[in-house]
Symmetry: C2
């Protein structure tokens, strides 16, 4: 019995010098819970697809992460969420963009994959489909966390939306000595999971509230198959977290698969080249797994909330949790 | 002075035996007009980006094509449109998904690219951005063409939406002997343009009304960078037309670029492999150009509305229009 799972809770300017012990304990526990939600399914012989969904649902229901109930506010003071899921065995996938009120966008993504003729639904249409599928809808204030409200209130009257996003790289470097709270807006708070099950099938799931103060209707990389999320047994399953528009320009998830398929690179070599050489530095990271159960969790930002568990055929288990670069 | 442009008006079950002379004349004239709109800009030394936008605007304003004013009806009887544009020199891009009332979604895509911090906006948020940018909005009936209404009315009460889409390949083969009207729903009516300008810069633009009776909020491949539309001076500019969900699964536009970049394939060889060997047959086609001005217009469906013009350095011009496979 051999399986692997890796999860992330977002990347960004996450520095030990800015982290309080209390906050570190909370994030560590949240990552442990999400990892357990997924790995328990794998340990019982469940599918990678079900495992990644369970891990992401757990993080969507945790207010610490920018997904589900912890989603950020957009320019209109609303919560619009993106998510996607993909099965590496069948290449079936589903995604949802800029959807409001849906408690678990990753569950909606799975339903779009399995119960609709389409791959991606957005906005009001996506919410209508959720209602038809009898998914729980929550009022807007379910998603109103105090931390996210403060983040938004600081910049909601800013006329520099464009600068807020496009100059992040510079600002992140400048902001290294500022307290954590000042850097909150520069976090790339997506959550995601990738897994390889006992049958050697792989899957990926990703969910996010996007960027604070984003324009209404903005779609990031997370819900887009081959951009923020991708799975193919022949190459890899991958979930990205970072500056969405940069990841969209580089088609990061599918590029990783192409580096493996067309250049013959290993998972590790392709991840290292893509994240540390090809992508602009400071833009984020990803988690990936292949059908042999190998995992990679590279990032080029200051930190990335992450956890992993690999069970080998001989019973040896390697697991860990990381937040900062040095972890 | 050397430049190239190729345009398409959709692929599908388009057979000479089903085409009336009157209809063929109308489509030929429409393709000529759109080609002229783009090539006139290139001949004056204008950019590939401006040329592909002009060609697509022309097709959006022509009711014969499923884009802009000729957009199909969705399940709710509405017109929701997708579009994207990308510059191969800067890798900047913009797209719009499931937007209503906007006369020219390709113009909105260009504004999202140049005037927003984002790449992709969808639904009500995209329309709000169009209003802020003072783009012309049209009432729903501007998009109500008689042909599209009839198509929708035939299937709007169907409970087989899924089958209508997922079994297209079989149906297309079965339907070869049926009159054209019976096959209308199986057309993949996207429009698009790719161009290489006198400076060797390339660009791609794509626009569509999607599929008749699609669910509200459905996003196809057209507005997604690297899927239905992509441009990079280092490889190619490409605009796809076909079964959106199949093109999404195969990441067709970026896959073409990766076959060239990572496998070292020529534009022609990569197009041929991708469209005729890798993609399921009967799913559509694409138009592509590289920075040397070479063009390709491969498709694996019965037909594809298409036109092209290539001006060599020695002044020789090659141009043509095609509808059927044998053209």
């Amino acid at each position: 019995m051999k399986y692997s799972i890796a999860i992330h809770g977002g990347a960004g300017t996450i520095l030990r010098s800015n982290m309080t012990p209390k906050k570190e304990i909370a994030y560590t526990a949240a990552l442990q819970n999400a990892l357990a939600a997924g790995s328990q399914i794998l340990a019982k012989g469940g599918s990678a697809l079900t495992a990644v969904q369970a891990a992401v649902v757990d993080m969507e229901d945790c207010p610490l992460f920018n997904a589900g109930c912890g989603s950020v506010f957009n320019k209109e003071g609303q919560h619009e969420m993106d998510a996607a899921i993909m099965c590496g065995k069948s290449l079936a996938s589903g995604g949802v963009a800029a959807v409001q009120n849906v408690k678990n966008p990753i569950v909606l993504s799975r339903l779009i994959m399995e119960q609709s003729p389409h791959i991606l639904l957005c906005g009001a249409g996506a919410k209508m489909f959720a209602q038809q599928q009898q998914l729980p809808l929550m009022s807007n204030d379910y998603f109103d966390t105090q931390q996210r409200l403060q983040q938004w209130q600081k910049i909601k009257h800013s006329s520099k939306i464009q600068l807020d996003h496009s100059d992040n790289a510079e600002e992140e470097n400048k902001d290294d000595n500022k307290p954590e709270s000042a850097n909150e807006n520069h976090k790339m708070g997506t959550v995601g999971a990738v897994a390889c099950d006992v049958n050697g099938n792989i899957a990926a799931a990703t969910s996010t509230g996007g960027m604070t103060n984003k324009l209404a209707g903005r779609v990031g990389d997370s819900p887009l198959i081959g951009i923020g999320n991708y799975a193919n047994n022949a190459t890899c399953a991958v979930s990205c977290t970072g500056k969405g528009e940069v990841f969209m320009q580089y088609l990061v998830a599918y590029d990783l698969a192409c580096l493996m398929a067309y250049k013959g690179m290993s998972l590790q070599a392709a991840c290292s080249y893509l994240v540390h050489q090809k992508l602009p530095q400071g833009t984020g990271g990803l988690i990936a797994v292949n059908a042999q159960g190998e995992i990679a969790l590279p990032f080029n930002s200051k930190g990335m909330y992450r956890a992993w568990k690999v069970r080998q055929e001989d019973g040896i288990v390697a697991e860990g949790i990381g937040i900062f670069k040095e972890d």
